[in-house]
């Protein structure tokens, strides 16, 4: 069953690549949060109960509720609706994401002896999600899109940490939580400030600092 959730988690990245509506991106983040919660709840019975409790509660509260709520708030405040000016057309974007995801699936079926410590399926999808997120960051133009892709990358890393088939220290879980805190607090805060300061949410407007002559 958990494999089904992991596949769905990977497929959400395709939806993210294909759509330009930012509200749909936020909803995808929410779906990813719920899927991660389900993966935590079903797949990792080998972990001690307190680790599972921490992981599930953290995932549900932060990833499925708090972050989407916060992003939604920023979205309303900044009146951003679409990110239409990506460097690549959505069709090609979807195509490349599909190829990367396919690569992730392939990685999970290849038998590598040194991969015995990890769940290969989880590992392959997680890597694909991280790579797709990083790639999307480079081609999107809106600052908010970049924040959303950063969060999906964090989700991918979270899945990667779950793929290691041994007890990850609680410390690492706290680390993930801190990362998420950065994502929603600092990035969210900065997005609002940038919107106030520049009146726009385009990454292109953040290119004033350079080495050649510019106004001080």
């Amino acid at each position: 069953m958990e494999n089904g959730f992991i596949i769905l988690f990977g497929l959400t990245m395709l939806y993210l690549s294909a759509t330009s509506r930012l509200i749909a991106h936020v909803k995808t983040i929410m779906v990813q949060g719920i899927l991660l919660f389900l993966i935590c709840a079903t797949a990792f019975s080998h972990l001690p109960w307190y680790t599972i409790a921490f992981l599930t509660i953290e995932t549900l509260l932060v990833k499925a509720i708090l972050i989407p709520w916060f992003l939604n708030k920023v979205l309303k405040k900044t009146h951003s609706n679409r990110d239409t000016d990506a460097n690549i057309a959505h069709f090609y974007c979807l195509l490349i994401s599909s190829i990367i995801l396919f690569g992730g699936f392939m990685l999970s079926v290849v038998e590598i002896p040194s991969l015995s410590m990890i769940n290969p399926f989880c590992f392959g999808i997680a890597l694909a999600v991280i790579i797709i997120s990083l790639w999307l960051i480079t081609i999107k133009h809106k600052i908010l899109s970049n924040v959303i892709e950063f969060i999906t990358m964090e989700n991918g890393i979270f899945l990667l940490s779950l793929s290691v088939a041994k007890e990850m220290p609680m410390l690492v879980n706290i680390g993930v939580l801190l990362d998420v805190f950065i994502a929603i607090y600092i990035l969210g805060l900065f997005v609002s400030q940038i919107n106030t300061e520049l009146g726009d949410m385009e990454v292109a407007h953040l290119s004033d600092l350079k080495d050649c002559e510019y106004n001080d």
Partner: protein, 475 residues
């Protein structure tokens, strides 16, 4: 003592939060800086008292980093006494500045003292949170751009470093710990493939924070837009924190006896950093950006020295100390110039020597120090690095190294000479003359002390320092 060093800033932040008093803020920052240094010095008298906290320790491998942080922080705290008088902001905003400064130093201290890779990672991430506000402190269009780039690029870098840590746990096999000592002890049994992959992720991730090319893009923007005392801390201490973690992981890679690949990656990133600096220094028209590029260059030298190994390790630690002391002085002096001329444009600053002789001499001395002019500590370190290259028969690398350093020296010398001795523009000269009262004694004294230390230690290295440098390499 460690508990105290880590608890005091939190208590002080609470006091500042409720008091919202400018004088009290400065007083508490100074007190913490002194206590921080005392904490470091007491290592030489009662080492055992430091092993009182489970996850933190002051040991032979991090004492040099801790002392550098203490000395630079003390210098910045003293400089800040004069600097903060010129800040025309509300008490609330100044309270935010002071509390974030303490949290920033607290995070760096935690990162240095952590004996656990996971915990060190958390503290390094904490430094991003605190310093982002400080970079954004002036709330201008440029500072928000710099802060955004800093937060975003570093967060991605740190996330990749976390992937590296996850892969390291795969490499460790049955070992269920991220403690450095445990990792070193079990290194022989690690899976070499995963260890190499994890090192690359950690190097690229934390290399972002350290400012190594090609993941350095945030650094010139953030260092140039932050207030000068913060730029000094960013360049002289924050980069070291990231380097310490990389060095600790590299030691594990060496202990596992699979460092050939890691060595190449370090060398490539090191030389790329020198190359990027040499190219970009020619085009920059902002003297704080020039200093930021110089930091990238020096981080590159650290990476090259680490990759070379052998006697170059000794050079790395000497370089680390020298760079931190001189670069802190350089950035603090750039703060004086900014106060005087109210601009960061190199072209607008001429005849610095006629405006303020002390600042001009500090600017020149810092330049000579950073360019490894004898008896600067950096001369010693770069000389040993070159010697290590020759011993290991890397002749082409040696020529490339010296060539890039010469290009960088020329680019910086051109700027510094024009700024100090160039023909003055009456308009800018008048502005600077009117601002001379803003630069008080506390804005000269720290640089004089830092530069004296850096030049004296280039000739005479006290025995205790020599011992801890050697222990840092071994530990």
């Amino acid at each position: 003592m460690i508990s105290l060093v880590l608890l005091i800033p939190i208590v002080f932040c609470l006091i500042m939060f409720f008091a919202k008093n400018k004088t009290l803020n400065n007083f508490l920052i100074n007190i913490y800086a002194i206590l921080h240094l005392i904490g470091g010095l007491s290592y030489f008298y009662k080492p055992l008292q430091f092993f009182d906290v489970q996850y933190f320790s002051l040991n032979s491998s991090n004492i040099v980093f801790y002392l550098i942080l203490s000395v630079v922080f003390l210098a910045v705290a003293v400089y800040n006494n004069g600097y903060s008088k010129n800040l025309k902001f509300s008490d609330k905003k100044l309270m935010h500045y002071a509390t974030m400064l303490l949290i920033f130093v607290f995070s760096m201290t935690g990162g240095i003292l952590s004996n656990n890779l996971g915990l060190a990672w958390i503290f390094i991430e904490g430094t991003t949170l605190a310093s982002a506000y400080l970079i954004y402190f002036n709330k201008t269009k440029h500072s928000i751009e710099a802060a955004w780039k800093y937060v975003f690029i570093c967060s991605i870098g740190i996330a990749l470093a976390f992937v590296g840590i996850i892969l390291l746990t795969v490499a460790t096999g049955s070992l269920n710990s991220l403690n450095y000592v445990d990792l070193m002890n079990s290194a022989q049994s690690f899976n070499h493939f995963w260890l190499n992959v994890s090192f690359v992720f950690i190097l690229f991730g934390l290399g972002t924070k350290m400012g190594l090319a090609p993941v350095h893009f945030w650094l010139p923007d953030a260092h140039s837009e932050a207030p000068s005392p913060i730029s000094a801390l960013l360049s002289a201490t924050l980069l070291n924190c990231a380097f310490l973690v990389i060095l600790n992981v590299y030691k594990v890679v060496i202990a596992a006896n699979c460092f050939a690949y890691a060595r190449i990656v370090l060398l490539v990133m090191g030389f790329l950093s020198l190359f990027i600096t040499a190219v970009f220094l020619y085009h920059t028209n902002n003297y704080k950006r020039m200093l930021a590029y110089s930091s990238i260059e020096n981080m590159g030298i650290l990476a090259i020295g680490t990759a070379l190994g052998g006697i170059a390790y000794y050079a790395v630690i000497i370089h680390l100390i020298g760079h931190s002391l001189i670069k802190a002085s350089y950035f603090l002096t750039s703060g004086n110039i900014l106060e005087l001329f109210e601009t960061k444009r190199i072209k607008s600053i001429r005849a610095l020597g006629d405006v303020d002789k002390k600042t001009a001499w500090l600017w020149i001395a810092s330049f000579l120090g950073i360019c490894a002019f004898p008896p600067s500590m950096l001369f010693l370190s770069e000389f040993i690095t070159v010697k290590a290259m020759l011993i290991q028969k890397h002749y082409i690398l040696c020529i490339l190294f010296l060539f890039l350093l010469t290009v960088i020296l020329y680019a910086m010398a051109k700027v510094v000479i024009k700024m100090v001795f160039g023909e003055k523009s009456e308009e800018k000269f008048e502005i600077a003359k009117n601002n001379i009262s803003k630069v008080t004694l506390s804005m000269y004294a720290p640089q004089i002390v830092l530069l004296t230390l850096a030049f004296v230690m280039g000739v005479y290295l006290p025995e205790f320092l020599d011992v801890i440098i050697r222990n840092t390499i071994v530990g």
